[in-house]
Symmetry: C2
Subunit: 153 residues, 2 copies
DNA sequence: TAAGACATGATATATCGTATCATTAACTTT
DNA sequence: AAAGTTAATGATACGATATATCATGTCTTA
């Protein structure tokens, strides 16, 4: 069983438990993200969908579907890149924590990592000292992936 | 001498040293950011400019001017908000470090803070462990400012 | 003053995103 | 099964952010 169908399987179960519906279209959008292995914009996903499934989907529907998938923690939005990625932990059983992302500025590759809680706590203290309240500790960092770091830009 | 004219004065000197020109328009755009005390988009700045100086500027020029000001470290772009802020350290003499920003999601207030180097180093190590290269340690964090944290959203 | 560099204006277009209303599909209740 | 209700999707319009390109203007300097 491929990684992707395994993830879809988990997503299915997840939705059943949460009492929501993983429709065909939603499954297809998620498949697109899983296959692409990088961050895609809603419009890029609509294109992918059209090519992959020989069926066109209005970008507006993609937005709605992404919002749904995000609310189920199956997908994450990268606010820095205005793109979306499939969660790396769909097939994991543990509860989902606040995600941290490394985004390759060259090729949009994304790595979802766990950052030590102590580091986040330190960050929170830093923010509090400045009189602000940290709303979301989701970090998104401008990076280069291994491949892009090697090559001459 | 007001804080703003002091900052403009410093900006002027800074540009003289770096051999660049702080033209009237560029000065006005910077003034807009200094006055606003919050992050503004290029288009918002164009509006501000029109009202403040009774002279219209095409948004495209604002973009170019912002790019210039950013290259001189007089202005920073917030990629998370797609807005721009005047640097808080224009009037400082020390060299400019990589900035970190706390952005109020409610009112666009922005605080430019210095985050301890040790924390950044830890972060860098985390990223390296994941096989990525941290391109810019500029952090932008979703926050609430003091005012907005108090009020019922 | 003529040449070159730099700055700005003007226009078109790409990209990301929201708002709104209509239509269709699915689930619920009788 | 039929009717009623809710959820999902389609369709259209529009707004905001951003880039690309070519034309025009302004400053500097020889
Ligand atoms: Zn995740
Ligand atoms: Zn890359
Ligand atoms: Zn600064
Ligand atoms: Zn605020």
């Amino acid at each position: 069983m491929s990684k992707i169908s395994k993830a879809l399987d988990h997503a299915e179960k997840h939705c059943k438990v949460s009492g929501t519906r993983l429709t065909e279209k939603r499954k297809h959008v998620l498949t697109g993200l899983l296959k692409s292995q990088k961050a895609l914009s809603a419009y890029e996903l609509a294109d992918f969908y059209r090519n992959e499934f020989n069926e066109s989907v209005p970008p507006m529907s993609v937005y709605r579907i992404l919002a749904f998938l995000e609310s189920e923690n199956l997908v994450h939005k990268l606010h820095l890149a205005n793109k979306y990625v499939a969660c790396s932990h769909i097939s994991c059983d543990h509860a989902h924590e606040v995600p941290q992302f490394l985004i390759c500025d060259e090729c949009s590759a994304v790595k979802e990592i766990g950052i030590k809680k102590t580091l986040i706590d330190t960050l929170k203290r830093n923010v509090a000292q400045a009189g602000y309240l940290l709303k979301s500790p989701q970090l998104e960092l401008h990076c280069l992936c291994q491949d892009c770091a090697k090559q001459p830009a």
